[in-house]
Point group: C2
Chain length 102, copies 2
């Protein structure tokens, strides 16, 4: 959350966020590709908990296989508190990977 709000482009991530969940990685790869094809300069890939490894897969597949001109611009990790059944609070790790074109 310590984002540098220097220019509009760097805050554009609100529009271009792909949340990675439990679907196959390729679903999210396609979603990222669609954003870039639609003109996005940056796409942010976010995931929580066990989906984090899949988010890394998605970023790597996009970077290596599809778009040679896409680079990893920033990676952040964090913790979110979630309330589970029964009212217990657990901490869940988060990962955010910012891919940038060009």
């Amino acid at each position: 959350m310590a984002e540098k709000k220097k220019t509009e482009n760097t805050t554009k991530s609100d529009d271009n966020v792909i949340f990675v969940g439990k679907k196959p990685a390729m679903s999210y790869v396609l979603a990222v590709m669609t954003q870039f094809t639609a003109g996005a300069k940056e796409v942010q890939i976010k995931a929580r908990g066990k989906s984090i490894s899949r988010a890394v897969d998605v970023a790597e597949i996009v970077k290596n296989k599809f778009l040679g001109d896409v680079k990893v611009k920033n990676i952040e990790i964090g913790t979110e508190e979630r309330t589970v059944d029964g009212g217990n609070k657990v901490n869940v790790s988060t990962l955010s990977i910012l891919l940038a074109k060009g």
Copy 2:
């Protein structure tokens, strides 16, 4: 043998690497803590595939609960090619988190 290894601290990551696998996160948290307690300035946490999410857990637990003066200095993702049973090659994502003290 008598060389002065002046920059040893910055290249010390070879010695201070914790590979996160399938054990509970707390095992690796303790391993990281041990490194820092033994005087390490930096500890690198590495993981592959599904263990990546656990590596993020480890980094977050160390950062948030144990050592307020430990910061995430760098995060890198990558891809490794591994040969599985039958000779097929599969790509496995990797994550490397560099924690630094002070």
